[in-house]
């Protein structure tokens, strides 16, 4: 394993289509980048936007969601619910300064092992180009600033501190 930085991708795959497709990719001995960690859910409709925010907050550089094609959802319409949440969340992530390329939704049927390979390789490459997201590091930095700030306040120097504008004004993407 090379020592250079490796993207870390968390994937949420639905049990019926995309997870099975990933199994098929394995059975077919397709080779793809090893950066993605798959979490199995019964349906892409189960993907709570909080899962995505949590993954990013805990150090994922990108999140991939895989569900059944339109009309093919095992639960009739869970994939549409997923699509709606995905669209809203994507906009929100962009407002937070997180690049659109870090969140990807793909419809991958149980027969499309080849597509699992392609999508994971593409996403890994995209994230490699974008570089680390580094939210945990950002949090650590903010925490450090806050500690310093608190120390300053304690020391009665709060008004002199130059970093007041960095203090978080709202709760960050943390669950």
């Amino acid at each position: 394993m090379s020592n250079e930085w490796q993207p870390r991708i968390v994937a949420f795959f639905c049990n019926w289509c995309t997870y099975t497709a990933a199994d098929l990719a394995g059975v077919s001995r397709l080779k793809y980048a090893s950066n993605t960690r798959v979490i199995r859910l019964m349906c892409s409709g189960r993907v709570d936007p909080q899962f995505i925010l949590d993954a990013l907050a805990k150090g994922a550089d990108a999140v991939l969601i895989g569900g059944c094609h339109p009309f093919d959802c095992h639960y009739a319409e869970g994939n549409y619910k997923c699509l709606r949440r995905f669209q809203l969340l994507k906009r929100m992530l962009m407002d937070m300064g997180i690049e659109a390329g870090r969140l990807r939704l793909e419809w991958i049927s149980a027969a499309e092992g080849e597509k699992v390979k392609r999508v994971i390789n593409e996403l890994t490459e995209t994230v490699r180009q974008l570089g680390p997201l580094g939210i945990p590091q950002q949090f650590a930095e903010w925490d450090k600033e806050m500690e310093q700030f608190a120390a300053h306040v304690e020391a009665g120097e709060a008004l002199k501190t130059p970093c007041a504008e960095h203090a978080p004004t709202q709760e960050p993407a943390h669950v």
């Binding site: 199994d23 960690r37 859910l41 993954a55 805990k58 639960y75």
Partner: protein
């Protein structure tokens, strides 16, 4: 939710080598050592084959010796062996849901090439499972009764065999066939390879057995339009198309056909691939089951554009007399069937040879498809078994059979249709027998795997049938030499001799491949199945669950799952019937307890979840102002769980805290 007390969690971790399948890419002992250092892990082992009996016994022994209360196995896909290991955990005395499985074969060792990367990934996935399993709760498996009746969709040889097997075992079967008669493609065949049994002789006894079996309800000329419910409790809606004949009253005397106002058959006959003619009132073929005629509203004079006009003098009604079987007032009706299991045997369609215009089908009259030849050589076919060209009198003196038309071709269908080599050999034999013509086979590879198949090929070689290896470039009527005048010329590169040849023929036969029905996708959606990339229905596992689908209680047999010959189809139909029987005789099914429920105290009654449920399992309890999930209707997709703004819906097995732990676990390492 009560968090499990961390002190009490005692996890056993097992990583499987799977021979060398996993161990060749993942350093299993290293993963085991690493997992052994994680909190709550009491023991961590690597073992050669976890799914073997000794592997499972190891788990059971450790549970009692080390007081384990959670088990994680890192091996293959949970879709393959989760059930096995849950069984082992249960046999060890634990609730089977205190178990989690890590997929390090299909998702890791088989798809990566760097052992260090694969090992790192295995560690992270294992870490996630260790964190997740600590959150697991004991769950109860629900038992749901299975309705003993079976629906068989499609009345070809697969459906017939499956229906008879079940009916003979005493089960009630509904056999739905969309054509006026059962029999499918096999009824059209003349002989069957390699034994040269007459197809009708071996099929028709089974067809009439279906027609008379007290346990089989045959719904011909009908289509399944909807399937609701779940394994053990399906409700199928069947559309009965009007055949304008009362099935109860028709005796099959066929007087109506003889007395139709059309004195001569005039319309192309579907059963004979359009080579013969039929009247508007007809019986598809002599052995049709049920023996009930059908009136085609597109050609009957009593209709115009399919609408009843009553303008015919209805001599058929007069001929039917006091049987009064003819009923022009019939309309489409819908019937609901309650069944526990479904067997899908919808078969295939032959490749449309017009999609390969270079072979001239539809342009040159003497280019035939294999199915047309089946009818042409058949004694009950349109020419009574007399092989003549389309002019109706000339016997062909030379015949070329082109293999792989719509098979093994990137431009049309990539797959091998499996049966074409063999049926081409059979047709070569039959055509030579009927006409004494010179017969040439143009093949890419001769595929004759099966009992007696290679011997059949040898026999054809001895009979003097010619074999030329090469994919045919084109069939043309453009003659370059006098002996090519008036003939069809096949241009082909003879890849054994190493040059391009032109060979003139009187008749060209296209060995058309097998492909999924044009409406296979609609059927698939209706029955909630999956398709492979070719469009054939997808089995649950290619080797270990070849007749099961991803939907419990729905089984597959025959060519709807992929091209196959009659022996394989019948074997598969028997297997599907056995799977259905296993469910029925057990009497109940165990449902995965992944349903959702609402924490009543915390529900704020916002109703966000209610419209999301595709199964209307969630209702609003107006008195308490809380949402309520009906567990019997919930199928465990988790869509409502993801949407609940107050986080008060919990999905068993996929609880928020379980998934958050998993996320934390996969990201726990730099």
């Amino acid at each position: 939710m009560d968090k499990p007390s961390k002190q009490t969690v005692r996890i056993g971790f097992y990583i499987c080598h799977c021979g060398s399948n996993i161990a060749a890419m993942v350093d299993c002992p290293a993963v085991a050592r690493f997992v052994g250092t994680l909190p709550h892990v009491v023991l961590s082992r690597d073992y050669k084959y976890m799914c073997s009996d000794p592997g499972q016994e190891l788990i059971q022994k450790d549970i009692s010796e080390h007081q384990l209360n959670r088990v994680v196995v890192a091996s293959c896909s949970p879709l393959l062996h989760e059930h096995t290991f849950r069984g082992a955990v249960e046999a060890g005395g634990l609730n089977p849901f205190f178990f989690h499985m890590v997929n390090i074969r299909e998702h890791d060792s088989w798809v990566h090439t760097d052992p260090a990367e694969a090992t790192a990934k295995a560690k992270e996935l294992a870490h996630a499972a260790i964190m997740r399993v600590a959150m697991h709760k004991a769950l109860e498996v629900k038992k749901v009764p299975v309705h003993p009746d079976v629906l068989v969709v499609g009345g070809g040889i697969a459906g017939i065999h499956a229906a008879l097997t079940l009916a003979n075992a005493g089960k009630k079967v509904f056999l739905v066939e969309r054509e006026p008669s059962i029999g499918g493609h096999m009824a059209q065949f003349d002989k069957t390879f390699p034994t040269l049994d007459c197809a009708a002789c071996i099929l028709t006894p089974k067809m009439s057995a279906v027609g008379t079996h007290p346990n089989i309800t045959l719904l011909s000329y009908s289509e399944v339009t909807k399937l609701d419910g779940y394994v053990g409790n399906y409700t199928a809606t069947v559309k009965r198309k009007p055949r304008y004949i009362s099935e109860d009253k028709c005796t099959g005397c066929q007087e109506c056909i003889a007395n139709c106002v059309y004195k001569e058959p005039k319309f192309p006959d579907e059963f004979n691939e359009g080579l013969g003619k039929r009247k508007p009132v007809y019986i598809p073929f002599p052995q049709a089951t049920p023996q009930v005629v059908v009136i085609d509203p597109q050609t009957c004079l009593n209709f115009r554009n399919g609408e009843l006009t009553g303008k015919c003098k209805k001599s058929c009604v007069a001929a039917c007399g006091d049987k009064e079987a003819i009923d022009f007032s019939q309309t489409e009706t819908f019937q609901e069937l309650k069944v526990g299991t479904v067997i899908v045997t919808t078969g295939f369609q032959a490749f449309d040879a017009k999609r390969m215009p270079q072979y001239g089908y539809g342009k040159f009259p003497n280019v035939y498809t294999a199915l047309e030849i089946e009818r042409l050589v058949n004694t009950s076919g349109p020419t009574a078994g007399h092989v003549v060209l389309r002019d109706g009198k000339t016997e062909p003196r030379s015949i070329g059979i082109i293999h792989c038309v719509g098979s093994r071709d990137k431009k049309t269908n990539r797959w091998c249709s499996r049966v074409c080599c063999m049926f081409s050999l059979k047709l070569a034999h039959l055509l030579k027998e009927h006409t004494g013509a010179e017969v040439y086979n143009f093949y890419i590879d001769m595929r004759a795997p099966g009992k007696g198949y290679e011997e059949f090929y040898d026999k054809l070689l001895e009979e003097g049938v010619h074999f030329i290896r090469g994919r045919v470039g084109e069939v043309t009527d453009w003659a370059r030499t006098p002996d090519e005048e008036g003939k069809l010329v096949i241009r082909v590169e003879d890849t054994l001799a190493g040059y391009v040849r032109r060979i003139p023929f009187d008749m060209v036969v296209l060995a058309t491949g097998l492909e999924p029905h044009a409406d296979a996708q609609d059927v698939r959606r209706m029955l909630n199945m999956s398709c492979g990339s070719e469009g054939f229905f997808l089995e649950r596992h290619p080797k270990l669950a070849p007749v099961s689908t991803f939907t419990e209680g729905i089984f597959l047999a025959g060519c709807c799952q992929g091209p196959r010959d009659i022996p394989d189809t019948v074997a598969q139909a028997g297997a599907a019937a056995a799977e259905a029987l296993a469910l029925i005789d057990k009497g109940f099914i165990e449902q995965e307890p992944n349903t959702a429920f609402i924490l009543e105290d915390e529900c704020c009654g916002c109703k966000s979840c209610i419209p999301l449920c595709p199964y209307t399992a969630i209702t609003f309890d107006a008195a308490n102002k809380k949402a309520v999930i009906n567990e019997a209707l919930c199928k465990g997709c988790g869509t409502c769980v993801a949407a609940c703004p107050s986080g008060t819906i919990v999905q068993n097995l996929f609880d928020d805290e379980e998934i958050f732990s998993e996320i934390e676990g996969v990201l726990a390492h730099e």
